[in-house]
Symmetry: C2
Subunit: 305 residues, 2 copies
């Protein structure tokens, strides 16, 4: 059975949107990725760090979804990474009200021996040096290495970011970040430029407007799955990456065709994610619901011109 | 052979974009619609008004494309409608530098007897009373009546607009306008509300992000055809409507399936439109290029998940 290794934050979030306030809930890119990934035959394990304040029930939750949490380091005297944010009426705008790195500040990931041979590696949004440290410890190069990142690292650690980008075969990035990273003004030129940095494929997320996939001379574009009642966009991009990685973990090769389908599954997972506060949808969604939404999505996007 | 009747402005435009300045060129919603439509077996005629300053070569151009221009009223002592605009680096923003209504101010469309039995009627963006006046003169209700409009009429003639909306079966509108017209905050709720006003189908244009089609319990979404080198977005929406109407003029019924394909063709026509200043692409594009781009579009959007 294929193995998926995820590295990413496991955190406490507090989220305010026009639909309400989440209170202090489970969050973190790694959590969203792992939960989303768990709906596929991904055989996933997660590398992360939490503080002594991290509730055991959340570890149990991840475990109950088949995610191996043995490599989540628990720093007894430390506090879990905490993020508080407020979304505007325009979902694309949010204010960060608080960021407490806590145990994340000294996160030095250790990959246990049994996780050093993953087939799929998902590097969730983290300092590029931390992402690189995980890759450095592997004993075999994974078939699929997905990198997620954000503008913060472009602003503060561009050189390190460029190094890790060189070593992955799929980079997932949003539209504005793609333009910032490439210095280009159209998504096509941006993708072309990013491909030159090393990855074989570039996935550009456009939020409610869908996603694009670029390979050398290959292109695919998908709309987003339409969601009528957005409650909380937190984690949508991570759930997308988790669905993409989860789908790819079921496939033997990293082909353009598989990536296309992976993007469609990622799109579906993200659509569920935004319908509830925090990780709730990613915890509770059922395989039948995913399959049913996929079927609907096909009917929404199919034409015979 | 099916007949298509178009009503819309025929104008002079002067357009500035980051790619240059068009100089004074042929423009107008009716012109773009007619030229786009002419690439289909549409048997189109256009109802409009121009001044004595309107160059004969432009009438000849439309005629050479098979568009009947005999119902374009030429007001010898008048001047042709003129619009000057400047697009920002962000293509979605533009400033109107000049609008001279000229002969358009007193436009009172007369539908000649031979055009009173169209199968497809395309009501280009105009005062809703003018749009209604054309519909009033027809001797038979067309199978397909497509209405294009804009926020200006929502601000200044909402009651008249609501009346004409009630009488058409397809309304084409952009995303912001859909929300303004409906007072709703999501495109789904907006479309639902607009359907209640009377049309059987609502098409929401999202520019570079594609288009959505809503019917009662039916939905379709298409990305835009990716254009790497946008030169001038003027007329993109009109070319979209012209392609949609042109495709539908080749079909015997107004079905959801036909509309889906019509949207795909409209998308392709709009993608050509923005690649040149003014109407140039709509004049010069060849059937083979349209077919080839359609084939590419299918490959860009097709997946087998």
């Amino acid at each position: 059975m294929k193995k998926t290794l995820i590295v990413g934050t496991v955190a406490y979030d507090e989220i305010e949107t026009v639909k309400g306030n989440s209170g202090k809930v489970l969050g973190g890119a790694g959590t969203y990725i792992a939960l989303s990934c768990s709906h596929f035959k991904s055989n996933a394990s997660i590398i992360s760090v939490v503080g002594g304040d991290f509730e055991k029930k959340y570890l149990a939750l991840l475990e109950s979804k088949g995610v191996d949490v043995s490599a989540i380091d628990i720093i007894k005297n430390g506090k879990t990474f905490y993020w508080k944010g407020k979304y505007h009426k325009d979902w694309n705008k949010r204010d960060t009200l608080a960021t407490e790195l806590n145990v994340l500040a000294d996160f030095n990931p250790k990959v246990p021996e049994e996780f050093k041979f993953p087939d799929v590696l998902i590097l969730g949004n983290l300092h590029p040096i931390v992402q690189g440290a995980v890759l450095n410890q592997l004993s075999k190069k994974p078939t699929t290495i997905i990198l997620d990142t954000m503008n913060f690292w472009m602003d503060t650690a561009l050189e390190d970011l460029t190094k890790i980008i060189k070593r992955v075969n799929v980079i997932v990035i949003n539209d504005e970040e793609a333009m910032q990273l490439s210095g280009k003004e159209t998504l096509f030129s941006a993708a072309e430029e990013i491909l030159k940095l090393g990855p074989k494929y570039v996935v550009i997320k456009k939020g409610e407007h869908g996603a694009m996939l670029f390979g050398e001379d290959q292109f695919f574009v998908s709309p987003a799955y339409p969601v009528n009642n957005v409650v909380d966009p937190t984690g949508a991009g991570d759930s997308f990456a988790g669905g993409l990685g989860g789908y790819l973990s079921e496939k033997s090769e990293l082909s353009f065709e598989n990536l296309k389908n992976g993007i469609v599954y990622g799109t579906i997972m993200a659509s569920f994610c935004v319908e509830s506060f925090g990780t709730l949808s990613m915890e509770t969604v059922k395989k039948e619901q995913i399959v049913s939404r996929l079927k609907k999505f096909k009917s929404f996007t199919n034409y015979n011109a």
